[in-house]
Amino acid sequence: MVSTAVPAGGLIEGSAVLKSHLRRAERTRKLRAVGLVLPLFLFIMVSFIIPIGVMLFQSIYDPDIRTLMPNTAAALDTWDGADLPDETVFAALVQDLAAAQKEKKAALIGRRLNYEMSGLRSELVKSGKAAMTMTAGPYKDQMIAVAPIWGDRATWAVIKRAARTYTPYYYLSSFDFEYTADNDVVAVPEGQAVYKAVFVRTLGISLLVTALTLVLGFPVAYLLATQPPRIANLLLILVLLPFWTSLLVRTTAWVVLLQTQGPINDLLMLTGLVDERVQLIFTRFGTIAAMTHIQLPFTLLPIYSVMKTISPSHMRAARSLGANSFYAFARVYFPQTLPGVAAGCLLTFILCLGYYITPALVGGPTDQLISTYIALFTNSTVNWGMGSALGTILLASTLVLYFVYNRLVGIDRMRLT
């Protein structure tokens, strides 16, 4: 006889016992699930999400002037900006500069103000030193005598704007806008505008590289998908081999290839196609060639994986129903590859938007993409606000593209592997 354990005490007590048993059993399972995810979650939080959040925040958070020049900032709150500020503001300025100079922070003030009006940095250092020695007012004339910038209304407008803790300044700059002395937002003069052209260039090069990888990769993907496994695997390894090599190594290989004394030029000279060596490296051609080569597998592999799922009987069916090969391909085969084409192109396009090393090594000055400027601001000039603003714009445009794509194609239809 098989005996079943029935909890004593009837149904209601029994079901309560059952529920608590269930909870206990579930609790262990839940804890285990949390335990499995937790290390990775913490790692990503600490090393990725929080730093990126902080970075993004830097693009609008601008406390330098308010902390370094607290008195001036407070005194300017009531300034209407119509004329030069009055004596109290100048007194506050002298007090702040003297304090900053003592702590050797006058240069920091100068750096921040210099973003909006070049030349302020050296004037600030000079004024800081002078402020240390000033003992009695009125300060207004003394300061203007030390540095004429203090007699300029625009300087004070810059300081008042920079004294805001949260600023749209970096975003405006990223889109080539600036403030006038009257706090109006205007476009930067033609010759000084930088970023709009860089954004357009980034989008243009990314589009071109994406199109090239599609044109070059699609036929190869088709070949891979239709060959018998033995040949297909060999071809696939040839495709994957560069994919497994580091980006830097491949870019460096292109540097070697494209050099004026390099193999491509040697070949061109040897075959008599050109009379003198061609400039290939540090050109747009070099940038696009290298980027296309590096991005090819990213476009090709999703297309290949979709093509592999398309049954060869579809083409046969189309042929038997009366379609010639071209018509069958265009009407039956190609439409079925679209999820892969979309996935591959989106992947390549988004990766291209963030290209940095390749344009830096094989491109010329006018081939640099937006990442170069982000790197410049974060590494060299330490203008974190600008770096963050450009980075945020890049991230946001990528997300917008992603959502547009989702609307048009549907992420669930996309196949990466």
Binding site: S311, N324, Q336
Partner: protein
């Protein structure tokens, strides 16, 4: 007797394979010397185990494989060098091969679009084709939203909608479950009868072949073993392969002792002499395989009613409802099966019982040794 002209025309081959050979690697022949005539309006099934060359034959007919040698004629045209899309042959595939990115209607309109048929006519013909397979209301759906059986119906409708000269079906019901398969077999059979189309059907399921076909070509090893109507194939198999491939079959090994016209006497290996129909044997003394259908064996036959009577021992009884499968040992073979119909109540014996079994001469066919 002289045939009339009309009879001649009706019997003239519509599809003719002449000495067709096919090899993929230049070493092994997948199809060897195939000669096969198919009549107009006929439902011909190519039946055989996998690797027997039946699908290759179908693909050559469709134009997806090229015969290494020989010629195929459809109507009065040689199919040599004619690409698949010009052959006007509708094909139904095992995995349906419906285009997933098109609706049911678009799928069915595809062969008409290709042929530049007018919009209005496409609409009426697609509607008629879908009504024919009872899918009138499903035109706007995509194949992924249909069940396997419905998808197969769409595939059939698509292969018929352009009135092809010939319809090929490559194991079209293989992916369906048993019940649906049997239902679809009847539907396709009825469609064939109603429309008078010529169908070449490939399957490895003998039940399917028997149910649907006018004639069956049994393939093995790249050759047609026998081409006959379903009943002839079952009742009069011409060799051991056909006898064993179609239906259940008892085998008794032996040697020919004497041969007298169409009747021969065979010494069975385990003892006993059996009188059998000489169908495919060598001379006296040659080895042979006797073939005997389980339902043609009588248990405890009245003495003198059949010429072949042997003592046997019941080994196993399997109750199958309508009949009892009875395994007995006889003449030294213990895999001899007798089907006892459950018409007159349960059989009165148990495993271990001693019985006699017997059969008629014409039910026992002496065939070649495999």
């Amino acid at each position: 007797m002289a045939n009339t002209a009309a009879e001649d025309a009706a019997n003239a081959p519509y599809v003719r394979f002449t000495d067709v050979q096919k090899t993929y690697d230049g070493e092994k022949l997948v199809v060897r010397d195939l000669n096969l005539d198919i009549k107009k309006g006929e439902f011909l099934t190519m039946l055989g185990p996998s690797g027997s060359g039946k699908t290759t034959t179908l693909l050559m007919l469709a134009g997806f494989e090229v015969p290494t040698q020989g010629d195929i004629i459809l109507g009065d045209q040689s199919l040599k060098n004619m690409p698949p899309h010009k052959r006007d042959i509708g094909m139904v595939f095992q995995n349906y091969a419906l285009f997933p990115h098109m609706t049911v209607e678009e799928n069915c309109a595809f062969p008409l679009d290709v042929r530049k048929v007018g919009k209005a006519e496409i609409q009426t013909r697609v509607k008629r084709a879908l009504d024919m397979v009872q899918l009138g209301g499903y035109g706007k759906r995509r194949p992924g939203q249909l069940s396997g059986g419905q998808q197969q119906r769409v595939a059939v409708a698509r292969a018929l909608v352009f009135n092809p000269k010939l319809v090929l079906m490559d194991e079209p019901l293989g992916a369906l479950d048993r019940q649906l398969r049997e239902q679809m077999q009847l539907e396709i059979k009825h469609l064939h009868e109603r429309l008078g189309i010529t169908v070449v059907y490939v399957t490895h399921d003998q039940g399917e072949a028997l149910t649907m076909s006018n004639r069956i070509a049994v393939f093995n090893d790249g050759e047609v073993q026998q081409l006959a109507t379903p009943d002839t194939l079952y009742e009069e198999p011409q060799n051991s392969f056909v006898a064993q491939f179609i239906g259940e079959n008892n085998k008794l090994r032996g040697t020919v002792r004497s041969l007298n016209g169409t009747i021969c006497e065979v010494d069975v290996e385990g003892g006993g002499a059996v009188r059998a129909l000489a169908v495919r044997i060598g001379g006296v003394g040659s080895a042979t395989l006797l073939s005997l259908r389980p339902e043609r064996v009588k248990i405890n036959p009245p003495s003198g009613s059949v010429p072949n009577v042997f003592p046997a021992k019941v080994e196993e009884l399997i109750y199958l409802g309508d009949h009892i499968r009875t395994r007995v040992s006889v003449c030294g073979h213990d895999d001899f099966v007798v089907k006892v119909p459950n018409a007159e109540g349960r059989v009165p014996f148990q495993p271990g019982s001693a019985i006699t079994i017997g059969w008629k001469v014409e039910d026992c066919r002496a065939l070649d040794v495999l």
